[in-house]
Subunit: 206 residues, 2 copies
Amino acid sequence: MTEKNITAGGARKGAGRKKGSGKFGEETKVIRVPESKVTIVKHWLSEQAEAEQQQKDLQEAQALAGDKLHIQLPDSSEKVLIPLHSHKVVAGFPSPADDYVETRLDLNDKLIQNKQATFLLTVQGDSMKKAGIHDGDILVVDRSLTPQDGKIVIAALDGELTVKTLSIKSTGTWLVPENDNYPPIPVREESDIVIWGVVTATIKQF
Amino acid sequence: MTEKNITAGGARKGAGRKKGSGKFGEETKVIRVPESKVTIVKHWLSEQAEAEQQQKDLQEAQALAGDKLHIQLPDSSEKVLIPLHSHKVVAGFPSPADDYVETRLDLNDKLIQNKQATFLLTVQGDSMKKAGIHDGDILVVDRSLTPQDGKIVIAALDGELTVKTLSIKSTGTWLVPENDNYPPIPVREESDIVIWGVVTATIKQF
DNA sequence: GACTATAATTTTTGTAACAGAATTCAAAAA
DNA sequence: TTTTTGAATTCTGTTACAAAAATTATAGTC
């Protein structure tokens, strides 16, 4: 750092912020809005922007996923409240049904914390059998959660989405398949591995 | 109309447009909106303004009506919560959101066939480990389904609800725990065993 | 040569400012 | 009294501006 020369002068062709790099990804206009609606509109706009970002992520993921995992977005437009029984409460059978209802529970609410960042994946193969994840199961994946040691995560491996357990130890970071036939995979800076999201639930239909 | 005198000079106290006389009935602010959303937002705003005007008219009418006519107001608390996106259809706008609406999935729809007959149970114990059902899992139970061979069912055994696999063979009907530590239980006419419902799904949260 | 820091450049974004339209009232005219 | 007209004031869409953010080329450093 010399003090005499502070200029790095001259033109810089091609420099500058890129178009569409704003939060809306497109050009904007100013419009006049009644004060009481400003918050509502702004909130909606940011939600829309997020949803569009999510859409892009989804397309990207679908490109990566190939045929292995089938991705869907949750839709929690309509609320359905289902009575939730607790095993021990119902023990005093015969039960007049509703007396024993503990709470009513909406499955979307229960399973989806962060609507904007949540995806559903359908599992193919039994590679995570030991973790209770089987072929055909539906995984609920939250992209907004921080991957932590012991969490089950979705990782993009060689351009393919896979489900693995994340292991962060002193020996380094590993992706561990819950299947004895496959070895753990080391995660290094230079490797092309991206943790795509954290699995928050798995659903098995009979 | 004389030509000499064109002034009607002097101050006019109290003159001028009244506050809140605009179409929104309140003060406004300018905000920046992405171009593709301008039409949608404007449309929504004018609809909201109309609704509020109607509301005022109605109140006025009610004041006039006195006891003669009984006019009911719509629930205003509900009105406030009208979501902005419900109007994207009306806007006649090529909405990017529409592209992926079809791929969205409602977990309630997916998991619950018969809303009236469906209950959720929380599992205690690992007695069904081999069937992928573990402690803490949530079971989706449909009471309207007919129990069939191989189905996982909820059975009332000794005044307690348990989850078992139903086995209907030539040797008779059995309730089979998916756990090697417990023996199958024969179901006979005289036994006090009631099949309470059929498990259609199990949900595991991490 | 590779990497880093920085200046240059461009877009974004919230807000202020402006001008024309709309609205309302008081004073003048009929 | 009624009508007309001009002044006063707010509304509203748009433009303008400045600070912030983002991006890249260049200079400097190791």
